[in-house]
């Protein structure tokens, strides 16, 4: 009860145990770091070199393995 009372009364009494924030920040930075490395890897292997073709490529519907349909007369 006293926990809630302290918050409602609006005082900013410093809490002794804030170490959870350090944990949170470290964890989120780590996750963000993973994405950063994924980005770096993608850039270095040339995935961002061509930004026009992939957008159009998804519109292709047939898989290349199947023989193309017979031409219309």
């Amino acid at each position: 009860m006293s926990y809630y009372g302290r918050c409602i009364s609006g005082s900013f009494a410093p809490r002794k145990n804030m170490s959870v924030i350090i944990l949170l920040i470290s964890a989120s930075t780590l996750v963000a770091g993973v994405f950063l490395f994924a980005f770096i890897w993608a850039a270095r292997t040339g995935q961002f070199d061509d930004d026009r073709s992939p957008a159009v490529r998804i519109l292709n519907d047939d898989s290349p393995a199947t023989p193309s349909p017979s031409k219309k007369q």
Partner: protein, 795 residues
């Protein structure tokens, strides 16, 4: 009076005028476009027209193109093919025509058009097409023929080298990503300062500070390294560039922030530091991104044919040009280039030298006369005995000549670097003055104030304004058919006050002729006779008449062509003659320079003559007149005379005829020495030297497969009439840059006011930097777009 609105071709978008044809309820401007449409429709590839409107290009038959059979020769094929395994062959081709999503889609769906294609893949930024195909079912020649049929003929040079253009450096993306990552996270960690709260938990404060420092390290030493490298390069070559104040700003920010957090006197400017580097890298990226994937440099090999046909006893064989020996006999067919100096041994030589000298009409050569390398045969095949090996040929000498013409022009200093010079001087003066002031009044604040001045004086917005202004301009000009090598060209273009035009191939189109008949107008029957007879002649002027006269064809009997005189035959009972004045019993008439005449006689009686001349491109007259409002216009031509229509476009004193290539180059450098900034517009090898000497060299390109000399810019033939508008856009862009400089400086002044008075808190810096960058970039982008709309160049 009914008004005719021009319909646009469904395939290429050009207006449908003469050869208008309609199919499936759609209009096409010519048979070529209609053929491509039909081909795609029958292969189930109509999606090509769904992705983008009017995605095609009008295919112009290009005489420079090598015949497709040549690509099946082992010598040629082996140069182009990457590898061949298990029946699948892979080849990489340059296809500069691809410009939109439809192009990509079609080129990656080639297997639907031709089943022997296993897979085709496009790299759009390099305009490169890689095709895997079963060579047993489809030869390389037929593949190239297929690509040409759909309007995507690959660009191949004599050396069949694959040119890879510059592309955005991958490391730049990495640096940008790292800078962005650190920027976002540092701002996040700076939230307490933004909201005015102070952290009271000491470990937390230390933790945040440690993280901020860790994030700042990659920003300064990795992402920001490009600025230090460039600044240092400037110092070593004793020149000032814009990266030097930037480097100073970065270091000031970093070390001041380190000092502040370690001495616990403040939170530091890490967020501004990361933001600064991030925004500046975006500017650099944009500059590289707008680069055009065309190749502006040329090798002599580019002008040579892939292989040459050599007579070897009774057989003919294909060899490379470099393998020809003195005394060999080579066969040069219609429209083919003569690759070496030689003596004509068989056939009638009609050599078109317009690319080399600018003379528009072919020169006649008889057996025993020498033919110089570089001309093109227009007429039936001839046999030439090799006189000199290629290394000693006229063409090679010409090439070396223009390579050595004058010194490389001195690079005009970029405006940005000029500004940087004044800027640095001003900043150091202000820093020194404020240091002195504070040292006298409150010594403790002297050093922080100096660093604050260095920080805020960092020309972030300034450094962004130019890449964005010129980047947008380059992109817009590219969409309108003018492709620039890099941003510096825009700057030089803005200062142009003299424009020099070449005549043949530039002002006049390569294959466009104006035909006029002098005499009593011909009846439809008479036109038919002339046209039918012209069809049997191999003379280039006959081809012009054949194309120009619209009349049904009749059969001809007893056709006899007397070389050098004319052709005679009997059509529908009428003896028809086409030829020179004597051949057609014509009286002597006045000749106008620049015109060629074909005299007609019917049943032995002179009937009239055709006056044929090269026609200037549509809209050129107006375009040149418009250009003359802003710049002095000149005409230089290798031709011996200028026809009246063209002469009207220029002031009489500004035209020079009979110009040899070195004379052209000297004329241009003469203008430059007199203080002008010169733009040269040309298309042939005879312009190469002048193009190099000019401040902005522009070559006119009729099709992407046609060859042009090296230059700073390439303009599509169809876009030449927009030249004055493009020049104006360049000038407006320059003015916009100036305005944005003023705007950036205003921010700097405001920031300096805070800095000098000792009030530059991290929050103010954090606000000022992004605010100035974003507003300047937005202003510049909108202003350039607005200027383009004014010039009708917005697309």
């Amino acid at each position: 009076m009914p008004t005719t609105t021009l319909t646009a071709c469904y395939h290429c978008g050009e207006p449908c005028v003469e050869d208008h044809v309609a199919v499936d309820g759609k209009d096409f401007c010519c048979q070529g476009c209609k053929a491509v449409y039909g081909l795609l429709r029958d292969s189930g590839l109509k999606n090509y027209y769904e992705l983008e409107q009017r995605p095609g290009t009008r295919t112009v038959a290009n005489a420079d193109e090598a015949r497709t059979e040549l690509f099946d020769l082992p010598e040629v094929r082996d140069k182009l093919v990457e590898f061949s395994e298990d029946g699948i062959t892979r080849v990489k081709l340059q296809v500069p025509q691809m410009h939109c999503s439809s192009c990509i889609w079609l080129l990656e769906n080639l297997e639907r058009l031709e089943p022997a294609v296993v897979r085709s893949r496009v790299r759009f930024s390099e305009k490169e097409l890689t095709v895997n195909f079963r060579e047993g079912d489809l030869s390389l020649g037929r593949l190239i023929g297929l690509l040409r049929n759909i309007g995507y003929g690959p660009q191949l040079t004599g050396s069949a080298k694959k040119k890879s253009g510059k592309k955005v450096d991958r490391m730049l993306y990495v640096r940008l990503g790292v800078a962005g990552f650190c920027f976002g996270n540092t701002m996040f960690l700076s939230f307490p300062e933004y909201f005015g709260a102070t952290l009271e938990n000491d470990t937390l404060v230390k933790g945040f500070v440690l993280l901020k420092i860790l994030l700042a390290l990659p920003v300064v030493f990795f992402a920001g390294r490009v600025f230090f490298t460039s600044a240092w390069a400037g110092v070593r070559s004793r020149s000032i560039n814009i990266d030097q104040p930037i480097a100073v700003g970065i270091m000031a920010l970093f070390f001041q922030s380190l000092y502040e957090v370690l001495a616990q006197t403040g939170p530091g400017y890490f967020d501004s530091l990361a933001g600064l580097v991030f925004f500046l890298l975006i500017g650099r990226w944009f500059q590289d991104y707008t680069y055009q994937a065309l190749s502006f440099d040329r090798d002599l090999d580019d002008f040579l044919p892939l292989v040459v046909l050599r007579r070897n006893g009774d057989t003919e064989e294909y060899v490379g040009v470099a393998d020809l020996n003195v005394g060999d006999t080579i066969i040069v067919r219609d429209q083919e280039l003569v690759p070496v100096d030689g003596i004509l041994r068989h056939g009638t030589g009609r050599i078109d030298n317009s690319f080399i000298t600018g003379e528009p009409l072919p020169v006649r050569r008889a057996i025993g006369e020498t033919i110089k390398a570089g001309g093109r045969q227009r007429g039936a095949a001839i046999e030439v005995e090799v006189l000199l090996p290629f290394a000693k040929s006229h063409l090679k000498r010409l090439w070396e000549e223009q390579r050595e013409t004058g010194d490389e022009r001195p690079m005009m200093p970029r405006t940005m670097d000029l500004v940087a010079r004044r800027f640095i001087v001003a900043v150091f003066t202000i820093a020194a003055l404020s240091a002195v002031y504070w040292w006298l009044h409150e010594p403790a604040r002297a050093w922080p104030v100096v660093t604050a001045v260095l920080i805020v004086a960092c020309p972030c917005a300034l450094a962004l304004s130019m890449p964005f202004a010129y980047g947008h301009t380059i992109r817009l000009l590219g969409k309108n058919g003018l492709f620039l090598r890099d941003a510096d060209v825009v700057e030089r273009m803005a200062n142009v006050d003299a424009v020099v035009f070449d005549k043949t191939g530039t002002l006049t189109a390569r294959e466009a002729w104006g035909v006029r008949f002098e005499g009593a107008p011909l009846s439809a029957h008479e036109k038919s006779l002339v046209r039918s007879l012209a069809r049997h002649s191999t003379h280039p002027l006959s081809a012009v008449l054949y194309a120009d006269l619209k009349a049904p064809l009749a059969d001809a009997v007893d056709v006899g062509e007397t070389p050098g005189q004319g052709i005679r035959g009997t059509l529908r009972g009428v003896e028809t003659s086409l030829g020179n004045a004597a051949f057609s019993h014509a009286p002597s008439l006045t000749t106008i320079p620049g015109e060629a005449y074909v005299f007609i006689a019917l049943d032995g009686v002179y009937r009239g003559r055709f006056a044929i001349r090269k026609k200037a491109r549509d809209g050129m007259a107006e375009s040149v007149m418009n250009t003359s409002k802003y710049a002095a216009t000149y005409l230089l031509t290798g031709d011996t005379s200028v026809d009246a229509d063209t002469a009207r476009m220029f002031t009489p004193g500004n035209m020079v005829t009979g110009c040899t290539p070195p004379e052209k180059a000297k004329f241009v450098s003469g203008l430059r020495n007199a203080g002008s900034t010169v733009m040269m517009v040309g298309d042939g090898l005879n312009d190469a030297g002048a193009l190099k000497q000019s401040d902005v060299g522009v070559t006119v390109s009729e099709s992407s497969a046609a060859l042009t000399p090296a230059s700073d810019a390439i303009i599509e033939a169809g876009a030449l009439h927009k030249l004055p508008h493009m020049l104006r856009l360049g000038r407006k862009a320059h003015r916009i840059v100036f305005a944005s400089l003023v705007l950036s400086l205003a921010y700097n002044v405001v920031g300096l006011a805070f800095a000098v008075s000792g009030n530059l808190t991290p929050i103010i810096a954090a606000i000022l930097m992004p605010l100035s960058s974003v507003t300047v970039v937005t202003f510049v982008s909108i202003a350039v777009w607005g200027a383009a709309r004014q010039e009708n160049l917005a697309k």
